[in-house]
Symmetry: C2
Amino acid sequence: MSGEFSAIERIRRLLPDPPAGEVWIGDDAAVLRPPTGPLLLAADVVVEGVHFTAGADLADVGWKAMTANVSDIAAMGGRPLHAVMTIATPDVAGVDRLYEGVAEAVVAYRCALVGGDLSRASEVSVSVAVTGTVDGDLPPVLRSGARAGDAIFVTGALGAMAASGYALRPQARLAEGQAARRAGATAMIDVSDGLAADLGHILDSSGVGATLDALPVAAGATEEQARSGGEDYELVFTGPAELAERLPFAIRIGTCTSDPAVRPAGGGWEHSWP
Amino acid sequence: MSGEFSAIERIRRLLPDPPAGEVWIGDDAAVLRPPTGPLLLAADVVVEGVHFTAGADLADVGWKAMTANVSDIAAMGGRPLHAVMTIATPDVAGVDRLYEGVAEAVVAYRCALVGGDLSRASEVSVSVAVTGTVDGDLPPVLRSGARAGDAIFVTGALGAMAASGYALRPQARLAEGQAARRAGATAMIDVSDGLAADLGHILDSSGVGATLDALPVAAGATEEQARSGGEDYELVFTGPAELAERLPFAIRIGTCTSDPAVRPAGGGWEHSWP
């Protein structure tokens, strides 16, 4: 498929060169030095009409696709290493604009784009897979480690994306996730589907319940948007109450309970496939 | 998005459990032991209406998505380790059938599915990223190592998929790719876009030309289908003529020339984006 080869050549020029001994874009697979610590691997897709509107600036879409993935690495307390991206689109000419946002994210997150694929399609979808690792001896922070009595924190105010009609450029909280891991966070997840849903995954995996206090609501957002709106990419994590003293960004929003049936009041716990 | 969580739970049950110390499906990112050799990373997407017809059996689509990716690892002379998969679909109920084909591929290729994402969309697209490595001291086989005088080989007859209307289950040539690397192949690629296009990538990357003899044509296929049809996932590789003696599957189809302007006659060198 055409345009494919020239588009790949153009993204190659937007990106830094690989270090000696590595092969990035342009072969059947990238050849990479593996990390010395654990290898993290995640994938997320963003789809026209679901995660962005048909008229969206494709640079923002490229940024968002990278951010959604890097955020998954942040939620482990890790740092990203490499990404591969597949783009399905009716309009190959738009790919260059998309790559501009990707190239910005590559720099901002220090996450190399090392390969991918490009296909025709009737609507735009962008799928990214990302690798990462954690530095130091502490393991990645899973969803399953929350204990009764743990405090529940978020890294920032919620609902901004829902309030803005998803027009902003969200930021993956890499530094915050790494600091939370080093400080002893027991469980962590990123708020991609909304606080209620994502905290629910921690509670399900850890076998605990939760009571919530007031949520930090982003400027212009409603409390409902803070509770149920997605794609803010703030992190929610659990751990000893004292974490708040060591992590200046940590905003306490509640407490884990021993009874898993105790769930925060309010909506957002039900999902629907239209 | 719903159905999402239960679909993820169902695929989890279809798949083997991770070894101790690893985390697969169900957290923000999979936690894996990195390979001791080089880390290979590739991604491919298959899209409804482009790579399969709207009425296709989704189990075949799942198989094909895995095969296209594993084939990229085969083309490096490697073996696959882990895959992550994102599925965009209008019909979440079809995902279970798709996972059946994926689960077969996971077993056939010994490539664990360790994570992914699921989204609504108006058409089906399946994007897979795969990791792999190479065993032993020889490096992965790149596209760029062909030398003037090298013989050109394929691993099997070509054109079967084009002749069949893409109805078959193609097989990634893992054993053949690994054997070709051990025997001293100088360059290798998989035939995903058609022999003419894919051999062209080797010639471009290596700065050599090629003359072709007769191609091995799959039963029922035309010579044109053998030359330009894609998705057979046979491998084409270059190296000393003596490789044929050590590799029983190797079918010699031509010779690399020092003049990069010498290209095989016939179509398939032009690509078009409709």
